[in-house]
Amino acid sequence: LAERLYAEVRSEEALYLLATCYYRSGKPYKAYRLLKAHSCSTPQVRFLLAKCCVELSKLAEGEQVLIGGVLNKQKSQDDIITEFGDSASFTLSLLGHIYCKTDRAAKGAECFQRSLTLNPFLWSPFQNLCHLGDKPDPDQMFKLSALPNSTLAPPPLHITPSQNPSHRLDTALMETPQDTLELNRLNLESSGKLTSDLSVSYIDSSLISPETGSLLGNTISIASAGSLLAKQNKPKSGRNLLGGPAALSPLTPSFGIVPLEPSPGDPTYLQNFSATMETQTTASSKKSVSRIGQSKSVFSQSGNSRDVLPIPFNQSQTSAPHTSGSPQVLSPSMSGPPNVQPRRSSRLFTSASSTAKENSKKLKMKFPTKIPNRKTKCKSAKTSNSSNLNESLDILRLDPSLSLPDTRIPQYQRAAADSVMALLRELGRGYQALCSYNCREAINILTSLPPQHYNTGWVLTHIGRAYFELAEYMQAERLFSEVRRIESYRVEGMEIYSTTLWHLQKDVALSALAKDLTDMDKNCPEAWCVAGNCFSLQREHDIAIKFFQRAIQVDPGFAYAYTLLGHEFVLTEELDRALACFRNAIRVNSRHYNAWYGLGMIYYKQEKFSLAEIHFKKALSINPQSSVLLCHIGVVQHALKKSDAALETLNRAIVIDPKNPLCKFHRASILFANDKYKAALQELEELKQIVPKESLVYFLIGKVYKKLGQTHLALMNFSWAMDLDPKGANNQIKEAIDKRYLPEDEGVQRVIIDPHRSTYYSVDDSQDSSIMTDADDTQLHTAESDDVL
């Protein structure tokens, strides 16, 4: 239909509309080609074109479109701001993204900051800033002061097109009000979404009527709707519409995409909606995530607020109450006031969501409890939703008498926005702490969130990740399994979960996770990473490699997949390819400290110790509190003969994480190498207490005793070590025992090793006592000899 419209009207707006349709339906290349074919001057069109370019990875072009090209004078950011008006924040955000991808991180950061100052509700620029390693101060960022009041004015909502194809033409002309609406919506939405597992209760009729209120783009009526609501419908749950969508975008790698997660509440919400309304349209089914991804961006476009203003609102305010009858009737009557425009079918975003937002804001006032309202937001409704909205309109229209004074509205908005900000601030602080790997603090901040936020997938995932970075895998695993329980559809944090399980060697859980995720969504790289991890744990490295490569195919921008692939190559000894993989990972995300660590490991294996040290230090600079890293640096330094530095590093590591047994172990080994036997022994005794079943500990103790000349103890420990390691035909241990005897002249021991059974026999001439262990395969006969080493 949009095509027909375009054919008919051939105007800029129609072009925009058509392009939007294409974009939303997931075919950005169509939109791209279309827009390229026609010169585009209006900012919104340019924005859409730029977005398409970014999606298609034509970053240079996107940038050119936004900035004005190399030939023309490059516009400065201020120009952009003035040009794009209210949607400048999104534009800047997009621009920042382009800069980051093309390696101009500083400019990118600047763009992000500006966009945040323009529109503090945006979460993704903030997130990107964190990723870049800047430390944006959440308190600064999420401040409302900069935001002019007008932007908060809820733009009139549009009824989704479903009902009014006939009105398309009208709509074509009446775009403006939509913009404001969208902008608003966009603002709110982009602030992120909190996935909350609040379900139905959240959706309640109170929400609905306010929605309708917003539908009419009537702030006043919204307020009235509130009361209206109270009157008409029994509010399902007295709630708390969260002032605003403090939605935190889930950890998607894609920028600028304010993912709209299908909120489980939406369908229910819709149902409620319908329940209350007489007329009903089927609630839209949950949208798939991909849909959301698409719709999201369009929102931003719609965000092109143009000169939208409260003016239309006011108009609609008055008119709204007068509307009566079916929504269809409404539309025509409203055609005067621009705000009610039947949305074109192409517009996927539901006005509902915006209304919801608005409503929530209002309601928030009324109901102080905060509930993430993202659900409504998220609806990338299908057209059916729109009809719901229409219905809501009905409700609204009912009450002409209601009218709040205009002045109260900004107040409400303000208060709503404030609470949103407060929440965003908290989340921002937590997120930023995590990104700078300040994990303990991140955990503290995030756990202090109010429980309804805490129990959401996003928050739990991030806390889980914080524990993961701290190497507290048990805790992390617990949290992640909680996430799975709450939100089984969440994929974003799952690759970390899979690695946690890999570390803990829980193959059953890992394979279950892999199966579930790959069944659920074959197009997300996380699922393939999980599968790869699963096979890697089973030591089927070739298959794991295949899966990681698939993950990379699915999303070449997913740094972790490269890192994991690199690790697999290391395990299969293909060090060159591993190097390439790690370098790729760094190319994608230079703050991916795992990749730096991987490079360090490879150099260590190749015995290029100084290179290894450099890389480890780089990883450490990104993540300063990882005790494992410090441990490795210590060992490398020891290999470089800087034993004192090594010891100091290890001490630091132990201070940071006293539970890391390897640090102590390595410290003991360095002490041993430096001939400080007593100290080493002491360490090892401590270790024995901590990890009594570890054969390496006994092995090292044995070596120390051997050096000290206490052969009995040495042998005893060696035998314990062998005991504890039945599978590993540990040559080193055997050798250690062998060497014990080799230099001796008499009491010859002949050692026979049976290759089939990994059994160790020693035969000696002199009679001796033998020490028997009850290991399954291994039997150790050692002979005491007179000589002491």
Binding site: R539, N594, H666, N731, Q732, K734
Partner: protein, 186 residues
């Protein structure tokens, strides 16, 4: 005259792989055969399928050459042979030679099999030091078959290298999950 005892079958190599102490590296090598019957060649030898086999087609000794890109430590060879299904085609005397190239091979192991019925593990440890050998090339030569058969069947061959599990330091592998958790960042 006592009947010679049959060669007992070894453990399934897959189990060994699971322990993580060894890794199959046949895929990193170039394999060649001295002769083969069409349809019973290299693919059948390396396809992980015990039903398919390589059948040689020339004169004895029949050779399987395994050449690596770089000097590789090899710990063990596993050959699957089954007297019941192959009878006179079952190899009975196998010689393993290693070296740098075809002219440089030295025999390091020779073994006799009597009616084998499963996996035969041939460990390639240096006699003196008990370390796995490190070589460019391995040649498996079938010198004689059961019942003096001319050609031989080989169902599967796997080559294993020891896995250096310890990611840091020159220590043997750790055994407890606690240690392993901290061993590496992934």
């Amino acid at each position: 005259m006592a009947t010679p005892s049959k060669t007992p079958p070894g453990a399934d190599p897959k189990q060994l792989e699971r322990t993580g102490t060894v890794r199959e590296i046949g895929s990193q090598a170039v394999w060649s055969l001295s002769s083969c019957k069409p349809g019973f060649g290299m693919d059948q030898l390396r396809d992980d399928n015990l039903e398919t086999y390589w059948q040689s087609d020339g004169s004895q000794p029949h050779l399987v050459n395994i050449q690596f890109r770089r000097r590789t430590t090899v710990k063990m060879l596993c050959i699957y042979a089954d007297y019941k299904s192959d009878e006179s085609y079952t190899p009975s005397k196998i010689s393993v030679r290693v070296g740098n190239n075809f002219h440089n091979l030295q025999e390091i192991r020779q073994l006799e099999m009597v009616e084998p019925s499963g996996w035969i593990h041939i460990s390639l440890l240096n006699q003196r030091t008990n370390e796995p050998i490190s070589t460019f090339m391995i040649q498996i030569a079938v010198l004689a078959n059961h019942q003096n058969g001319r050609d031989t069947h080989m169902r599967q061959i796997k080559v294993y290298t020891p896995v250096e599990e310890s990611s840091i330091g020159k220590y043997p592998r750790c055994t407890t999950v606690d240690f392993m958790m901290y061993r590496t960042i992934r």
